[in-house]
């Protein structure tokens, strides 16, 4: 059986567009709302990245920090994150889920326990921001043995030699960080430059699905549409914040934003 993540890319490719990946923080702004958001955007999204919020996030910009603090302030626990995934996966239109977060939470939960829980709640992949290669080899292997994709990250600073090694050890999907930035920074390189680097990665292994993330918004997404997949995170978190500030329903507003994003790459 084809892995759900690979299937999502295959489906998108058949429609001649990149896969659309969204990032939302579990529990932002409440457990219920974040599940509603997932359910609502699911029709336009190919893969859902769900962040497990940490209160000392060293690689996230302001928007995602705000979302994470909001979720934590509302008392979100790791068990809630798994519950949200579990509930989401039970819905008809659910999509593959990739959890994204920082290593300390996995460490405190216990690597094996964490993976087991991922498996039982239907998580398909994991991104651990502060567990780089080669330190992540052991953990990645454990994930693979339970059919969970460990997503390796690549950045503009990754050397050619390193690129080769990381790609060799990667699973179904790799994630190219578009620029030197935390999440949600203003795009400070041209889409052309990003795609140049992206193509170098694809050349090393054309079969690997490679997504581009960081700094992608409604304005920039169309120019990157030749990639296998594109991740939008901060723009969505920002919309949740904006909606809450204006006392509007984040579910409807975020769904509109995601539909627009989808429209730009279809």
């Amino acid at each position: 059986m084809i892995n759900p993540i690979n299937l999502a890319f295959k489906n998108a490719k058949e429609k001649k567009r990149p896969a659309l990946l969204t990032y939302t923080v579990a529990g932002d702004n409440t457990k219920k709302k974040s599940l509603e958001i997932l359910k609502s955007i699911s029709k336009d999204v190919d893969i859902c990245e769900i962040g497990f919020p940490h209160n000392t996030p060293i690689a996230d910009g302001g928007q995602i920090q705000t979302s994470a603090y909001r979720a934590l302030k509302n008392g979100l626990k790791i068990s809630d994150v798994f519950q949200i995934v579990n509930d989401f996966k039970k819905t008809k239109n659910s999509k593959p889920v990739i959890l994204m977060g920082y290593y300390n939470m996995i460490y405190q939960y216990g690597e094996n326990n964490f993976i087991k829980k991922c498996k039982s709640s239907g998580v398909n992949g994991l991104i651990v921001v502060d567990l780089p290669w080669p330190e992540n080899k052991g953990f990645a292997r454990k994930c693979k043995s339970k059919a969970i994709s460990f997503v390796q990250l690549l950045s503009p600073t990754t050397s050619k030699e390193r690129l080769k090694n990381i790609i060799k050890d990667s699973h179904d999907m790799i994630y190219y960080i578009s620029m030197l930035s935390t999440t949600g920074g203003k795009l400070k390189v041209t889409p052309k430059q990003i795609l140049n680097n992206y193509n170098k990665i694809k050349k090393i292994d054309p079969k690997k699905n490679c997504v581009i993330g960081f700094g992608i918004t409604e304005k920039t997404i169309a120019k990157l549409r030749s990639a296998d997949g594109l991740v939008v995170g901060s723009a969505i978190c920002k919309e949740i914040t904006r909606s809450l500030n204006n006392r509007q329903n984040p579910v409807t507003n975020v769904s509109k934003v995601v539909a627009k994003l989808k429209n730009k790459i279809s």
Partner: protein
């Protein structure tokens, strides 16, 4: 888990950067891998380079001012009536605290890597002040990340930073203290690592920063070892080296030359911030049994909850107000080479009061924690025991807090 002899502690890690197999490492985003690798290569090259060492020593001697004094606290010793108490007055150093060693070395490294911008975090403001001084000295553009709460409580150091031409970036997330300043500084570095060098203000963070900082502050114990031999003609049979521990940079620097000595001869005592007497919050991960966790790129004992969220800390001393601690102190704790305890805010204030009444010394609230422990144990020890406290910072920065807590007498 075992300590090795004749190898500096900062070098006793495995190929992934772990001390004792589990403390330290480099838990960093992929983007920082290259700058961290570049820095690691540069540092390992330079520390073997004779002309670089000569340059370092030149600035240590002529800019920082080496050696700092080693003095007996006659009145305090007499007053307590037990062990003799000495102080290594590291606050004599240019700028008033040990942070100048690390800052100077980082500025030299930044220059030799051809970077023009340097950024750093600060809690008490000393790391920031010193980095701004070193940046000015070596012609670098400097940005300092500091918690908004700390900016308020350590104003004199902020004034100094501004005077040195550094930009202070207030950090308003989380508890608005050192932990948030370090996070924000690391975020800034992620975004600007191609042009900018980052200085971590203590022996914390990814492996290489622990090493650079420890290598820099080790100057303190190199001086002290010579000074002890001059004063006593030999190394006395019973010494206790007492130092406050926040991140742990001054403690490592104070101890590094003495780690190979038997514990029965030279005891290493680290004093953490116990926070207000009746508060549940503290900044004492080692002495109050915090669990191992990952914070700011390294595994160490960390004040955190069961879910791995970092706890808020509380201490009167901004420099010790940090939920994590250096991996090398975790290693020293678990190998039982050093003993760790804590002093409360009140203990530190009382120690400060007694010390300034009896001696011509004005230690900041950080070393006042160490003095509190010295005052506690000295009476029950005999006079052949030599207690040495690292007076690693000057109290000028604490002017406002001391005035508020102790009234007009300061």
């Amino acid at each position: 888990m075992k300590l090795k002899k004749k190898i500096p502690l900062i070098d006793q890690h495995d190929k992934f950067g772990f001390w004792g197999g589990k403390f330290g490492g480099s838990y960093i985003p992929e983007t920082l891998k290259k700058p961290v690798d570049d820095l690691t290569k540069e540092f390992s090259k330079l520390r073997k380079n004779k002309s670089f060492i000569k340059k370092r020593d030149f600035y240590f001697n002529n800019y920082i001012g080496a050696p700092t004094r080693f003095i007996k606290l006659e009145n305090l010793s007499k007053h307590l009536g037990g062990a003799q108490i000495w102080a290594k007055v590291v606050s004599d150093a240019n700028g008033g605290a040990h942070k100048i060693y690390n800052a100077t070395v980082h500025a030299l490294l930044c220059k030799s890597m051809g970077k023009k911008y340097i950024v750093g975090d600060t809690g008490a403001g000393y790391a920031g002040k010193m980095l701004s001084m070193a940046a000015k000295k070596f012609g670098l553009k400097c940005k300092i990340f500091m918690g908004a709460k700390d900016i308020k409580r350590q104003k004199p150091n902020c004034d100094a930073m501004k005077k040195n031409g550094a930009e202070i970036v207030p950090v308003t997330t989380g508890s608005q203290t050192l932990v948030d300043a370090v996070s924000e500084c690391m975020r800034y570095w992620v975004s600007n690592c191609d042009t900018t060098h980052m200085c971590v203000g203590s022996t914390v963070g990814p492996n290489i920063f622990v090493k650079i900082c420890g290598w820099s502050t080790a100057q303190i114990s190199r001086e002290l070892k010579k000074q002890i031999k001059i004063k006593f003609n030999k190394i006395p049979k019973k010494i206790k080296l007492i130092n406050c521990v926040g991140g742990g940079s001054s403690a490592y620097g104070f101890w590094s030359e003495f780690i190979d000595f038997p514990k029965s001869q030279i005891e290493l005592v680290g004093v953490e911030a116990g926070g207000p007497k009746n508060s549940k919050l503290h900044a004492a991960p080692l002495s109050r049994g915090a669990k191992l966790g990952v914070l700011h790129g390294a595994a160490s004992y960390v004040c955190q909850n069961n879910e791995g969220q970092i706890n808020e800390t509380e201490s009167i001393s901004a420099g010790l107000d940090y939920p994590g601690v250096s991996p090398i102190h975790c290693f020293l704790k678990d190998t039982k080479r050093a003993r760790y305890t804590y002093a409360t805010d009140e203990d530190a204030l009382n120690a400060y009061k007694l010390l300034t009444k009896l001696e011509k010394l004005n230690p900041s609230l950080e070393p006042s924690h160490a003095f509190a422990e010295a005052i506690r144990i000295a009476p029950s020890l005999n006079k052949d025991t030599v207690i040495i406290v690292n007076s690693c910072g000057d109290a000028k920065k604490d002017r406002d807090i001391l005035k508020k807590r102790l009234g007009k007498r300061i």
